[in-house]
Symmetry: C2
DNA sequence: TATAAACACGAAAACGTTTTCGGAACGTTA
DNA sequence: TAACGTTCCGAAAACGTTTTCGTGTTTATA
């Protein structure tokens, strides 16, 4: 690569000092019009642009936001990144993306790479393994130094920082309620293992709705799916039983889509024999038959909110209270829950 | 945010020079064991890490790869990023992601932000508007300076740089052939507008297969979808006609999924009345009924290849020929093309 | 004509690092 | 004791920028 042109080179070209060149390019009145013009013309011709590393070092500011997510090939997470990126760009920031791949170790190493001065702040959704280990010392190190940090979706309540979550409890509550209103009596819950916060919150909403409607809880209807094992086989055990449930609430789209597929394999009519609703991350729901009802997650808004909180935190001069923003959900009703009876 | 600890602070703590501290932390034999140990203990206690901006400036190397893509909420592109990110991480690079949103202006502004010294090289998939305008001066500026650049998927043949594409012609050829082998006589092509390179290449493969099988080309069966207009309505015009085609090749998953949905609305039996195959970007195909056959694109390998080419280019000392890697495709056959007759 | 203001520019510090070179202090050897 | 080698450390340059504070020259004012 050809070396880029610098102030120094321009200066030596005209036999003036570096500071003269810098001022000339900034249209400073300290420099005579004549000098100014010739320097600007030259810089323009050679397409001079200030080296951003040098600026970052001098200003002690990178204008870069670091983002650490568990996965990137994932509709929800990529939607959140989209929100972050758009808001950041609008505010003059760039986005550096790292993927933890659900691994504690990779998360820690991402932390250490990004917090060496290359970003002004961090937006993180916690890796599954980290939640499992319950090991947060890498976060605490940052928090001790007041490093700008925003957690989203997979958060930890204990950590003292800004947070953005969706209304998981409310979303599951609404969805369960909707199933009950449409006649469901025996609602299975397809959730994650307990240590995933969003999974347990959605379970809470599910239980709340059962309770409110006077339906007793059957622990056998609560299935904790292990993402490391075969989804299809696990969900098969929910549906290929003697008396299958008459409705299913799944905590994500993949569980729901698999449930639908399997229910059809068992020749169950949807939604008449079994209604299905999922939390949505994606495009699948629209194209299944029947199309899947879903709890809409608004990942884009979530990303924007996270970026807004972070940038405020970065640019503020004196510390303020940590905020926790809750993005509300809504239902998108499609045929998988709308009884045709 | 608390100011980070620097060599200077450590030096003043012990009344030694900055260079002594630097050497001590690097276990230099120039520094006495005693001094070394106490400095290292102190640095360790305060969790000293070298400021990466300073290092980047000094070494004239950022170890950051810039990526500019048209969209991020997109299965194919996010898969490519995944490949880039994983390879980059393995090689000690970080990834900075910018989204052009299919806009020429945003692409240009992304270019100018990223090439100010904040990245060592760039991986780009060209925005739709840029291809439409046929305006590549921002690329040419970089190429003139031998800036490390890799294009993928949406490329421009004229630009002198490394490239990675999938075998679009071959993929479409295989898919069309497959349709013909399963009895199709009247195959519609759902493609993009001409200026999108991948669209026209896939059209080429389609034509080639027709030709080879002695089927004459009917221009009326080639539909150029405009992504800015309503997809559903456009695709409806393909299927709700007097004599609908008996097979459809779609150049992406969304077109295919919509076609399938619409064909079902017209009560056509799939694949007996109409067979459908798409190029895949996603998860939808697996969950439609019947599941969609697809041309598999291998986005992850594409990302890895792109990153590998770029990093080689960055680290090489003397210029070498530009390479064009072609990732081969394969068919994933599902029920949407497997006649049950 | 002496003094002040205006103009045009340069020197140097600062951001945080690494590395080369030089040098003082001490010990060893002929 | 003169010459030489070690050992241990500091000064300074370099990466590229911005900005403060001089400073010398010219022009205007009293």
């Amino acid at each position: 690569m050809k070396p880029r042109i610098t102030l120094k080179k321009i200066a030596s070209e005209f036999g003036v000092s570096i500071s003269t060149v810098s001022k000339a390019l900034k249209d400073s009145h300290e420099i005579s019009e004549e000098t100014r013009e010739k320097i600007k013309a030259f810089a323009d011709y050679y397409n001079y642009k200030p080296n951003s590393l040098a600026l970052q070092l001098r200003n002690q500011k990178t204008s870069v936001i670091g983002v650490i997510i568990p996965e990137i090939v994932h509709h929800f997470f990529s939607t959140v990144i989209d929100g972050i990126e758009q808001y950041a760009t609008k505010k003059g920031y760039n986005v550096m993306v790292c993927v933890s791949n659900e691994s504690y170790e990779k998360e820690v190493s991402n932390f250490s790479v990004l917090t060496n001065g290359s970003v002004d702040g961090l937006i993180v959704s916690i890796a599954r393994e980290t939640q499992h280990k319950n090991e947060y010392s890498h976060f605490e190190g940052l928090i001790k130094d007041d490093f700008p940090l925003v957690l989203f979706d997979r958060i930890n309540e204990e950590l003292a920082c800004d947070k953005v979550i969706i209304d998981d409890v409310g979303g599951a509550f609404k969805a369960t309620n909707h199933l009950i209103e449409n006649g469901a009596k025996k609602i299975a819950l397809l959730t994650t293992q307990d240590f995933i916060t969003v999974g347990s919150l959605r379970k809470e909403g599910y239980l709340k709705a059962l309770h409110k409607n006077g339906i007793s809880v059957d622990e056998n209807l609560i299935y904790k799916i292990d993402d490391n094992k075969d989804l299809y086989e696990q969900i098969k055990k929910v549906i290929f039983v003697k008396n299958p449930p008459d409705a299913i609430l799944a905590v994500n789209e993949i569980y729901a889509a698999n449930a639908l597929k399997i229910a059809k394999e068992r020749k169950l009519s949807i939604p008449n024999d079994i209604a299905i609703i999922g939390f949505t991350d994606g495009l699948i729901s629209e194209f299944t038959s029947p199309p899947l009802s879903e709890v809409v997650q608004h990942g884009f808004e979530m990303g924007q909110q996270a970026a807004e909180l972070l940038i405020k935190r970065i640019e503020q001069t004196d510390a303020s209270e940590f905020k926790k923003e809750v993005i509300s959900t809504n239902l998108k009703i499609r045929q998988s829950t709308l009884s045709t009876k």
